[in-house]
Assembly symmetry: C2
Homo-oligomer: 402 residues x 2
């Protein structure tokens, strides 16, 4: 076995022995390389009790190197591949996890957020390149029709503009984002919390096959690995770190998706949140983030998302403005004159001046100008507003209550 | 005529001669008192051309003092009253308008934001007291059913907790807020942009009568005054300044309601915004405010509003949290053990330990504890998860994808 093959095998064995993200393992690999790190752990030399105990427990179930060899053979049979930091297609940006600090995080999944040791990949394109210009779209599984619609539009719009749409392959928002990207004929990547050969949830099996055809299925876990609950949170740090920004569409209070957003913000990437009706339980998590996470940024669509992640001039969102109308250009006196005019019955020049609080000469000048703009009509018996062409009448269309 | 009566008459005459909010008039009244200020203006001594011209134009339509006398007689006939800064019920907090600066405001309505000279009031209660513990709820006239629902709930909830609900009496959000407060049997105040005897919009005439019965109708304009377009924006500064905070429920881009919010923030009061579906044109203005006005605060209901304006301990909103479940209390090892258990077929202690990556003794200890919490069941053939009592099954109820 070549030295490279040995290092790859060691990374697989380490992944099997310890959960991805474990800092002490990452540091050992950094210092000693994967082969020596594996030897040290298997010899009972782990630097802390928890890790020693975990390695011993796993080892009781089999020989780590043998398990890794079987896993690599199975990877090949699946048409999948192992990608390690020594490969050209390794997404270098996941190294940013080295500076992830989650405020208030005290659980293992909040503390053990080291960069990945390796990835399993199904799909043809190079992994790193897929992530280069990518946005994560994540959210609730129990999404509402509103959330599903918004996620689909985001997935479509981003893919349509050449961005890779990354999500977790779950029901609801994740699936909608993947599907939107596929519909646009764009690239989409599902980062899974189980083996790349384990369609989870089962109901998304066909979706995963479609993603693997044109995009990528990615996992830090060995083929066959179960989607255990903590793995979703461990996985979320990869979604946050590998993309240029994360958008949360719908989330219940304290959901996994809100934690992906906190991870994105924690590594210095834009954390974007789509608001929703305050009457929807599925937007409670989104609104809480917008209230409590000062760096969470409200976005309402693709243009806003690209404004956050885009480094390209034409990705900038134009500010929303009501259409310009002739009357928006008027100076104060012209506006006062215009507002003083009755809608129906014409009134005299003098009455207009008195109502407007503008002197006669100025009133006359402004009335001529307003006539030219077709805002005012002159009749034999005086001046009146021109009939309104916009939708609505004067009462509801042009005055500005509230 | 007493000196006080003369001063009151002068304030009415000044209001008729010049639009409320005009800084030069406010300063003259401050320096000379209302009577001398009126004399100066009527003698053509206004400090700037625009004001001189406005006074001359209005004076051409009648004698200011005579008009004021008629207005006061009409006020009395209406069962309304004039309230000036010399009255006990004057809402002193409107003086805060002295420090209102609207960023980027270049129009007359954005520059001429001086405190009011006087108010006309219909309704029994004292004006200042009504505003003492008040919140403004404003928004679009063309409100959606969503916005109407939210505004009604806010109006009801605030009134139910003893807060006065202030709005502008317009269709849509304003009406919903007033109606919510009335339904709760609470106090509501409509600040109008026309005379208190002019139900505008006409369709709200019955609503105004109901408001006047238990709450107040308030205006800076003389009885009979028309709801001219700029008056809505002039009026909005009063809504913003007289209340302890302003909530925007729905607004199209660049609408009058967003400008009330900017005025509230401009005088240092909380400016609160209710988000909505990003698919709704009626929430575009709300979302733009949340994106572009750094001081705009997202709120989703009464509790959040009271958190911003409330100075009373029990008005504080509890942070939204998912209900606590026994499993939320577990330490990492117990969680790992729990997550390693299959849902259906029991597995042996050794298998649990290997899957969990936890040593045998600890696994045994954690399993006993989990059994006591009724999360795990022990059978002859091993351990398994206890049947789930929550709604949903393991796949959708307890794992945390995305």
């Amino acid at each position: 076995m070549s030295a490279l093959a040995e290092r790859r095998l060691a990374r697989v064995a380490l992944t099997w022995l310890t959960e991805p993200g474990t800092w002490s393992v990452h540091r050992l690999v950094d210092q000693l390389g994967p082969v020596a790190a594996l030897d040290l752990l298997l010899d009972g030399g782990a630097p802390d009790r928890a890790l020693r105990s975990a390695v011993a427990a796993r080892s009781a179930g089999g020989d780590a190197r043998a398990v890794a060899e079987q896993a690599l053979a199975r990877t090949e049979r699946l048409g999948a591949r192992l990608v390690t930091p020594e490969d050209d297609e390794w997404p270098a940006q996941v190294a940013v996890l080295s500076r992830l600090v989650l405020r208030g995080g005290a659980r293992r999944v909040d503390l053990q957020t080291a960069p990945p040791l390796c990835f399993w990949v199904r799909g043809a394109g190079p992994l790193g390149q897929a992530f280069d210009r990518s946005v994560a779209v994540v959210g609730a599984r129990a999404a509402t029709p509103y959330g599903t619609h918004v996620a689909t539009e985001l997935g479509y719009g981003l893919a349509d503009r050449g961005w890779t749409v990354v999500s977790g392959g779950a029901f609801g928002i994740d699936s909608a984002a993947h599907r939107g990207a596929l519909t646009a004929g764009g690239l989409t990547v599902a980062v899974l919390a189980c083996g790349v050969d384990r369609p989870y949830p089962m109901g998304n099996a066909a979706l995963f096959d479609r993603i693997a055809e044109t995009g990528l299925l990615v996992s830090e876990w060995l083929p066959g690995a179960d989607p255990l609950r903590p793995r979703f949170l461990i996985r979320n740090r990869v979604i946050a770190a590998a993309t240029l920004g994360t958008v949360l569409v719908e989330a219940a209070a304290r959901s996994g998706a809100t934690q992906t957003l906190n991870r994105a913000i924690g590594v210095g990437r834009p954390g974007m949140v789509v608001p929703g009706p305050v009457t929807s339980a599925m937007s409670v998590g989104a609104h809480e983030l917008l209230r409590e996470q000062p760096k969470a940024r409200l976005v309402t669509g693709v243009a806003h998302v690209l404004e956050e992640v885009g480094r390209i001039g034409d990705d900038l969102a134009p500010p929303v403005r009501a259409p310009e109308r002739p009357r928006d250009q008027l100076d104060d006196e012209a506006t006062q004159v215009l507002e003083a005019l009755p809608r129906r019955k014409p009134i005299s020049l003098e009455s207009v001046a008195a109502r407007a609080g503008v002197d006669l000469r100025t009133t006359m000048r402004k009335l001529s100008m307003l006539e030219e703009l077709a805002l005012v009509i002159r009749r034999d018996d005086g001046y009146a507003l021109a009939p309104v062409e916009e939708s609505g009448n004067r009462a509801t269309g042009t005055s500005t209550p509230a």
